[in-house]
Structure formats: C-alpha cells, structure tokens
Symmetry: C3
Subunit: 208 residues, 3 copies
C-alpha cells in the first residue's frame, strides 16, 4: 500500500544525496554512501525502533539498485556545480514529505499512539537529511540558522494521522500530508522561514 | 519496578539537554531534538541492543510529553546564559547516575553476564550525553580533556550489579549505585578530576 | 564456523582502535571506547539490521575482555607516537578484510540476496573504522581524499559470496575474500590508490 510513496521517496532522497555529495566532490563510493544514507537512513531507524523486519530496503531490493544507479549517473554525467545548488530544494522537500507520511503510516499500522506516530514520521522524514549533512561535514540543517525542516515533517505527519483518524480515505490523507510537508518545506527554503531563536552571545560560543 | 528511576532520569536528562541547547541558541525544534536525544538516546540504544520492545519511551508515552514540555518551557522562559553554565552539572550527574543503574538493571533482568551488564549501564548512562555533545558540535566530553564521565557510570553500574548479586535488596542496591555514580560525577566536575592521559604532541595532531 | 574469523577481526580492529586513540592522546576510558567502537561497531550494526541476537560480542563475552585488555595495554605500555603511524595499516586492513567476509557470510546465512549480502559485508567491514574516525574527530576516511576503503570491503565480500554460490568450499571462499579485501586495502594505502573524484571548487565549499 505504501509502496509507490516509498519508491518516490527513495528516488527523491537518493537524488538529493547524490547532489549533496557532488557538491563536496565525493568519488563514486562516497556518492553511493551519501545517497544510501539519505535514502535509507530515516526509514531504517524507524524500522529498528518499530522492530519491523525485513527493513524496507531489504524487502524491496530494487531500491538499492535505484540508489546505486543514481550514484553512478552522478559520478559519470558532467554537471556544473552552480546548477546543483538550485536543484537541491525540490528532491529535499519531496523526500521529506513522502518519507514523513510513510513513516507515520507504518507507526499507525503498528498501533503507536498519536505523538509517537508523529515522531516516527519526523524521524523517517528528517533523519536521512541529518545523516547526509553529518557525512558532508555540515552543521545539520535541523539546527538553528536554517529554514524549517523537522517542523514541516511534523506538520505533514500530524495532518496525515489526524485525517486518517477522522475516517478520511487513505489515499487522500496521504496526499494531503505529503503536499503539506513538501510545500511548506519548499516555501520555508524559498522565503527563508525559520523558527525564532535566541542568539547565543558570541563570547559564550566555543568552536564556532 | 524501574519506573520511578526512569521517570527521574528522563526529567533530569531532558533538563540537561534543554540547557545544552539554550547555550547554543537553538530554536524550539532544536531544543526538543537535543532534549529527546539526551533523554532517550542511551536507553534507546540499550533497548535496541537488548532487543527490548516497546522501547522505554514508547511504553511510557508521557515521557515524550515531559520532554516536549520542558523544551517548550526552555524556549519561552527568559533566562541568562551565564546562569546556565552553573546549572548544567546537577541534571547531568543525576541523569548519568539514574540511567546507568536502570540500564544495568535491565541487562541483569535479561540475564546478561557481569561485564556486558556493566557496559549496558555505561551505554544507557553516558550515550545520551555523548549524542547531545555531538549535536551541539562539541568534542564529546567522553574524551580526554574533561572530568570523569563514563567512569562514573561504570562505577555506579558495577556497584549496583555486585550488590544485587550479593543478595542486597533491589531498592538499596539501586540507591547505592545511583548515589555513587551521581556523586562521583559531581565531584569530578567540581574538582576537575580526569584520568591520566598522554599528551598527543601538537606536531602530530591534525585538525586541532 | 565464523568464530576464528571474528576472533581475529575483533583483535585486529581493537589494536587499530587503540592505536587511533593513542595518536589522539586519549586516556584509558577513551582508548577502551574507541577500541570497542571500532571492534564492535560494524558487527553490531549488521546484527541490528539482520535482527541477529544475541549480538556477536554478547554471544562471545570474551571478545569484550580482549578489547579491554588491549586498551589497558595501550594505556600503560610506553610507546613512540611516530611508530604508531606506521603500524596503523596492518590491523586496519586485517580488520576490514576479516569483518567484511564475516558480515557477508552472516547475510548469506540469513538468505539475503546478492547485493544486500555484499552491502552487509561492507557495513560490517567498514563501519567500525568510520565510527573510529568520527570519535577521533577526523573526516571519515571513507570519503574522498583517501585510499580505497569501502571498495576493498566490497571486493572481498563479493568474491566470497560469488565463490560460495559457485560451490566453492567455505574455508576457501572465506580465505579468498579476506585475502582480496585485506591485500587490496594494504596496496591502496601503500600506493595511495584513490577513486577518481571531481574536485569541489574551493569557492563553493563552506566550513572547509
């Protein structure tokens, strides 16, 4: 039932991961590693936490082939780095939205309560990107000086869960959650929408 | 049986996580993430390693609400950063002591041998803080130029296990382990007690 | 059946981890942590992904004693840091080769398909080293400007799986896979063999 969503989520996330790695000049193995980490990281953590086996990418082995093929294409096709920057937003937002709804749906299937289900959606949607950032040595965009990220996953996952609970048909609830999460992420990037935060005084920060 | 210990451990660790995040100027989502990472990280890793489901914070969903409420309080209440520094030590030490005994107790329940049980205690007690440090971009305090941390968790976990094996009542063995770990951590911070280490010659270090 | 391979893998990896930590000037707890992370990290992740319990180092508790003993020896024996650098390559390569074949063998036993089995080999062989690098605050050697690492694990794991599938006796298939992975890793370090990568223009890198 969740197969088409996961297929799209894996594809979008792998493209995002390959673009991240290309920006850093990674070789083919590095690209494949980032792409796998971004595309499989969140769902794997969710599967471990929910004790779901086989893992979603073991159950669908062709997901692995898709990610490796995209990494190979990224390693061989010519590209301009300036063009990558502008192309990161869409696969990022799609992966976030698709994975957060898929994650919430698995948690609902496993009879998790509301807040835990929403959190599983956030973990599934946002964790892959965080690992990608860590691998690429950037401060995870989950944290302060960056547009809304986990918040979008939370909004999408909550919308899906509440619509599902109120008797809305699966397909509609899923579509609404995905659109809400992905669109809000796109808007947050476009207009640089951040949560309010107190600035840490420079004198108290160490390591920058 | 371990419920009151875990409740106190989650609360203390979440407070520590919120303070860590405030020091870095994180927004509400960042604060919630650090607080969840510190409060749930060690116990989740232990549950995964011991194959315990539901996870301790899924079994007690209100733990999640407590952590989120503390993060929200941290994000809204006014505070002075200089006061945070001095308030980090107590919740850190309490979380370490409570979680290391709880972790060791779960491992003993699962019939793990001595050393493995002690290690589970150390992982449960110390891992959350390590994740918090990694998220906040600091060199994990587990390592060199910092007061005893994992060592305190080890001492407390070992004390609990040995007292429990020698027929001491649960409550007494737990209290002794918690006090030993938390007090030694407080003392280590207060008097800056570190393990001896060879200084790595500056000329051989890379990346500082 | 895999016991002697894992025993050797744990020993080699723990030595590598202790040397890594000594180079950083870690104290005894730090050395034990790095050694455990390098020796147990990859296999633990594999066991979690394959849902194998007890974990390989819980099943064989003396693995833990071996690692701790090596950390203690490292913390007490006198050594020269200049000598460490030259001694890192052999335990690194042996650990990589032994663990990648052991990881692939467990995956084959669990009826995983070809690509997933090979990936489990790579994860088991390479992940410990990556964690070690992260703990020691170095850019993981898995990534760009470094000799082949995951690639060697992949070659060894694939060789083992294909030989095993073609009816080759276990011992022979294992030996061939281990030799292939370890030797190629030694050669990659010795002659600085890297995969081709596009250089990321300096102007587009942030954070160095």
């Amino acid at each position: 039932m969740l197969y088409p969503i996961e297929l799209a989520a894996v594809t979008a996330s792998a493209i995002y991961g390959v673009l991240l790695g290309l920006r850093k000049g990674f070789d083919a193995v590095g690209l494949a590693t980032v792409a796998m980490a971004v595309a499989f990281g969140g769902g794997t953590l969710r599967d471990l936490l929910l004790d779901r086996r086989p893992l979603f990418w073991v159950e669908n082995e062709h997901f692995l082939w898709i990610v490796l093929a995209l990494a190979l294409i990224g390693a061989t096709l010519p590209h301009r780095l300036t063009a990558i920057e502008r192309r990161l937003a869409l696969p990022d937002a799609l992966g976030l939205g698709l994975f957060s709804v898929a994650g919430a749906a698995y948690a609902v299937q496993a009879d998790m309560p509301l807040l835990t289900s929403a959190l599983m959606g956030v973990i599934t949607g946002a964790f892959g990107g965080v690992i990608g950032d860590v691998i690429c040595n950037e401060t995870p965009s989950l944290f302060r000086p960056s547009p809304l990220h986990a918040t979008c996953a939370l909004v999408g996952a909550l919308a899906y869960i509440l619509l599902d609970r109120s008797g809305c048909p699966q397909g509609l609830a899923q579509t609404a959650g995905i659109l809400l999460a992905s669109t809000s992420r796109m808007l947050a990037i476009r207009f640089n929408i951040c949560l309010p935060a107190r600035q840490a005084p420079a004198s108290e920060e160490e390591g920058g």
